[in-house]
Amino acid sequence: MIRIEKISKAFGPKRVLIDLELQVAEGETFVIMGASGIGKSVTLKHVVGLLRPDSGRVIVDGESVSDAYGAKLRKIRSGIGYLFQGSALLNWMTVGENVALPLKEDRRQKRKRAEIDRIVLEKLSLVNMASERDKLPSEISGGMRKRAALARVLAINPQVILYDEPTAGLDPRMAATIGNLISSVQKRFGTTAIVVTHDLPLAYAVGDRIGMMHLGRLLEVGTPDEIRRSNNPIVRDFIDGRPILSVDEETKLGMRLP
């Protein structure tokens, strides 16, 4: 369903992705883990075409996102939901209006006002946010914004969902709820998903496979059990939560891209 074919990306002199390869099958949930600043969000942005690779390409549902523009790109994007790391709710609209936005702006399908209201309420209830519908994003907590953003993503019933740190800023029980939600959405609609997270319980719970990102590519890919028992020192350091040396030192040792 999603095929990332050897993409490389650099911002000026800074190389972020180097020949990254990844295939996610239809209905599969793939978890990407990795240190902060390693390029996880950049990878997701390539999948929706917000960034374009310097070389290589990304194929979603048989179409190359990296070469698509205009109407073709819009069509591909209409099947993809992206939960942004910072929620990215529009701050002058209420939570309800934010969730309604992708429905109202859908050019291929005109929906009635009542139908939109119904969907908004349904999706907000799914993330336990129905009572906050008329509040502004500035009036709710960070975790609530995350959940509202998730409702906005789910509103269009996407076949592919990209979750960028869906549980960051949530308490453990709410995190578990979101984990369940991700699994149940996957089961009900057969969605294909990429989940970027540092939250190990979530990764083990929702991931069919987990990939550890390092030096611009996926260092190790495996089932949750394989990753848990991995002998790779870098994977071990990560899941055992060993503190980093200084960033400069790790760069010198070749553990980080300069």
Partner: protein, 254 residues
């Protein structure tokens, strides 16, 4: 050596920035007819651009009228021409000062806010989110702002003109002993020397046209600065307004 490089870099950035701004304006212009679909956003923006800065515009205009009347009046009095005060105030305010005052106030308040707001949206991924939902950001964000400011700038200018004339009249009555009725009649007379083509008072509509251009310019530069998320371009916008103002006057009063 560094100075040369810096200058070169600065010039290249400026040219590139201007290109972006002009293209942004033209693409947005093509989207104006779609404003009917964005009526709510447009009304919201008209409130932000037109109602919020209103108190400042009123206060500044009234004092401009007062100062103008006071300073000019004293000089005119020395030549025994004090009745001319009404003509001067009417013409100067409507033709030049009105649009200029409103332009500067709007640059500093609304224009700067637009730039800052777009800038934060870029950082907080909101622009990415809009793009992901396949919403045209020009249609959704830029068009209502440019259109609203373009509409509201002349309206504010018109109000500012009237308030300024009233301020001037107040001083004329108090200091120069010109009765209100005479003052008002003179202002109206000076402004109703119609242009042959339109029948409207030329000084007034030239001023309002200028305000329209100012409004469109301020909003375009505000939005383009924000979208590129580079600081400093507002200063350029400010300069542009003064240059535009000069050329417009020159064009209509050769």
């Amino acid at each position: 050596m560094d100075l040369i490089r810096f200058t070169g870099h600065f010039l290249r950035q400026s040219v590139r920035g201007s290109g972006f701004t002009v293209r942004l304006f033209l693409s947005t212009l093509a989207r104006f007819p779609r404003a009917v679909l964005r009526l709510r956003a447009l009304l919201d923006q008209m409130y932000v651009c037109g109602i919020k800065p209103l108190p400042v515009v009123v206060v500044v205009s009234i004092f401009t009228g007062i100062i103008l009347a006071y300073q000019t009046g004293l000089e005119l009095d020395r030549f025994g021409q004090r009745e001319k005060i009404a003509d001067i105030i009417g013409i100067v305010l409507c033709r030049e000062m009105g649009p200029f005052i409103v332009g500067i106030i709007l640059t500093a308040s609304v224009g700067a806010a637009m730039a800052a707001e777009r800038g934060t949206m870029k950082v907080s991924e909101e622009l990415d989110a809009i793009e992901c939902m396949s919403i045209d950001p020009l249609d959704f964000l830029v068009m209502p702002r440019i259109l609203a400011l373009g509409l509201m700038c002349p309206v504010l200018t018109f109000l500012g003109d009237i308030v300024g004339i009233i301020g001037g009249g107040f001083i004329s009555e108090q200091q120069l002993q010109i009765p209100w009725t005479l003052y008002v009649r003179q202002v109206i007379e000076s402004l109703t020397t119609p242009a042959e083509s339109t029948g409207l008072p030329k000084d007034l509509w030239c001023g309002l046209l200028k305000a329209l251009v100012f409004g469109l310019t301020i909003a375009t530069i505000g939005c383009s600065t924000g979208l590129r998320a580079t600081g400093g371009a507002l200063g350029v916008g400010f300069t542009l307004i003064i240059i535009f103002g000069y050329y417009l006057t020159w064009f209509f009063y050769p």
